[in-house]
């Protein structure tokens, strides 16, 4: 493997990692605050993708300006987070925080199944594709290989922006500090007047929006198909477990690790490509059962 191929594998790995991070960070945020392993997280990813692709197809068929694709993604993601994520937290999850872990997994799994069928009812089974955002940014040639600007530059920038925003948001803003306080000790936070229920609701909607945002961004590069949420949730779990549940920076680093591992595998040993995320997870968890950045007591499952 020469320097050129090394660089190419690096680029591919980073752009893949960016998408994985966006979905995984929502999952880990929800776990970190609510202590719920949300299996329905994959559904938000799929819903974000479906919403963006279907609205996009409609408005661009009516010849609206292509740049609208970018605000559309953000609006679709926030819309899914609030309109779908909100009721799920308020009506379902809020009733089961005190119950056993396994019940939470079963309930969120049921939500996942219901949402999968809802997608088939609304959007049917034929793959959707809407690449206006990607086409609007054009392509760029690096080392003789054509890349899309969207995947090579835009996605990593968005991922880094989300990471920074989450860090700053959690540490510097009032809402962020309230979230951190509830995460540290719910009872103490409630006793000094923090509305923990509201914090949970906001966190869940933010986490769901992040997953939907991942889906919205992915919809420009991939076919939107039934079952896409299930695949993403498995990969996100691998990222979150490797990073240590509830750790945001860890999710970023692990996503990068998995993205790079996967792309180098394609160059060096394509047969193991699909195994790479799980090999990394296996190796990390053998050495550090709590994950790369997890605290031993943070583990719930």
């Amino acid at each position: 493997m020469n320097a050129t191929l090394f660089a190419l594998a690096l680029f591919d790995g980073i752009s893949y990692a960016a998408l994985v991070f966006l979905v995984a960070v929502g999952l880990t945020l929800i776990f970190g605050v609510l202590r719920v392993l949300n299996v329905a997280h994959g559904s938000f990813y799929a819903l974000g993708a479906y919403t963006t692709a279907s609205i996009g197809s409609a408005i661009f068929a009516a010849s609206f300006a292509p740049w609208l694709a970018f605000p559309l993604m953000l609006i679709a993601a926030i819309g899914v987070g609030i309109l779908v994520g909100g009721p799920i937290e308020k009506l379902l999850l809020s009733r089961i925080y005190e119950m056993e872990d396994v019940l939470q997994i079963l309930v969120t799994f049921a939500v996942f199944m219901i949402l999968e069928d809802a997608q088939r009812l609304i959007w049917g089974v034929q793959p959707l594709f809407e690449a206006t955002a990607l086409n609007a940014l054009g392509t760029i040639e690096v080392l003789g290989i054509t890349y899309t600007v969207y995947q090579l530059i835009f996605l990593p920038i968005v991922a880094v922006a989300v990471l920074v925003a989450l860090r700053v948001g959690l540490r510097r803003t009032l809402t962020g500090r309230l979230i951190t306080a509830v995460t540290e000790d719910r009872e103490a936070a409630t006793s000094i007047g923090i509305d923990a229920e509201k914090v949970y609701l906001i966190t869940f909607m933010v986490g769901a929006s992040l997953a939907a945002f991942g889906g919205a961004l992915a919809s420009a590069t991939t076919s939107v198909v039934p079952g896409m949420g299930a695949d993403m949730i498995v990969l996100s779990f691998a990222v979150v477990a490797t990073a240590g549940l509830g750790n945001i920076e860890g999710a970023a680093l692990t996503a990068l690790l998995i993205g790079l591992g996967r792309s180098f595998a394609v160059y060096l040993w394509p047969e193991v490509e699909v195994l790479v995320p799980y090999l990394i997870m296996l190796f990390v968890l053998l050495v550090r059962p709590q994950g790369l950045f997890g605290m031993p007591d943070a583990r719930k499952i």
Binding site: T4, L5, L8, A9, F11, D12, G13, S15, Y16, L19, R120, G124, V125, Q126, P127, F129, A131, L134, N135, T139, G144, I145, T146, Y147, T148, Q151, A218, T221, T222, S223, V224, V225, P226, G227, M228, D231, M232, R262, S263, V266, Y267, P270, E271, E273, V274
Partner: protein, 432 residues
Amino acid sequence: MKRLLIAAATASLVLTGSALADEKPDILKVGITTFLSGPASVFGEPAKAGAEMMIADINADGGIGGVPVEVYFVDEGAGGEALLAEYRRLVEDVGVDAMFASISSGNCTKIGPLAEDLKVLNIMWDCGTQRIFEENDFRYSFRTQANATPEMLSTVLYLLKTKPDLKTIAVVNQDYAWGRDSWAIFSTALKQLKPDVEVVAEFFPKFGAPDFSTEISRLQALRPDAILSTSWGGDLDTFVRQATQRGLTNTSTLVLPLAESSLERLGGALPAGHIVGARGDHYFLHPEKAGDAAFTSFVDDFKERTGAYPIYPVFHMAQALSALEGAYKKAISANGGAWPGDEAVIDAMSGLTFAGLGREVTIRDDNQGVEDQLLGTTVRVDGYDFALLDNMMMFDGDAITTPVGMISAEWLETLTPEFVDSVAFESFSHGS
């Protein structure tokens, strides 16, 4: 003693009589397994819509042998055990007269022995694995279309006829049985027919992979003359779109044996000059059917009803229904016009020739159908916002189907480069 003999003779007469002329049923019940959930519903849903339309047509004409057809659909996406249970329920409790199963080769493999147990006519209406009749001797199962061997072999032939100086090839197939098996057949055939072609990369990304960026970067660096992908559905769409977005389609020819089923969905994403197959002679603009009112009106009705043109699973369904109709007609006439017994219908399937919405298909001694294969190269034509086929070739099914009693892997090994010119084919251009 004499009375006893007469009684025995009468009894035996009554018994044989009842075996010969079964009572004509009120309804002919047909069970169809098809994917209504999961990724393969891109095939299952159109096929279901097609079946409903065609059965309505059959019933409007008085049904099969004067008996109206009623259909029961089973979702293959429910998974192996549930599918087998539902299959058994339809045969034993509902009492279906024939089953069409299935799209998935894995499901066909599991259902074959079950159909033998239940002694029910089982038409393998879409599955492609060549192993079914090479490794089993079934009485009750029949395949009313070709299998993976002729499908892949015709693809190799088309590739070598259109690109005689092919030097390098790469493959990007889904990582499951079909992706692996189809590559095994394709690469074996290619090695026999043009031994100097070099395979420069073999990728088997995960089934349902959302991203092929890394594979595409690597393929851009390798620049193979041709890139084979037997993927289908969302996977194929994603791969083709990402390949086009990144300009891979400018440097390599894509060879896509199942892309007939993606043409319309891909829209502008599949440029001209790439090779497309159809798992048989299936194409909504079938070059020999342009003047056939039954064909064109079905295509128009289907488009109007579902919003999309019919794709190969719809045509496979047409073949299965046509075979069922043909077998009953043959058995009825063999029975002097009386309704035939179940076993007589099974007998009638052997050697049956029928046509769905394409060329004729014949069931061989091993219950495998012999079907001609259509391939073409994409072309952009005014009036359609997706790629159509040009420079089409229709390969003779007999020459490219593994002979009865042979295993495909072994038969392919006996082929030589001369085979390429020995297979009969006809050429068609777009609009001809």
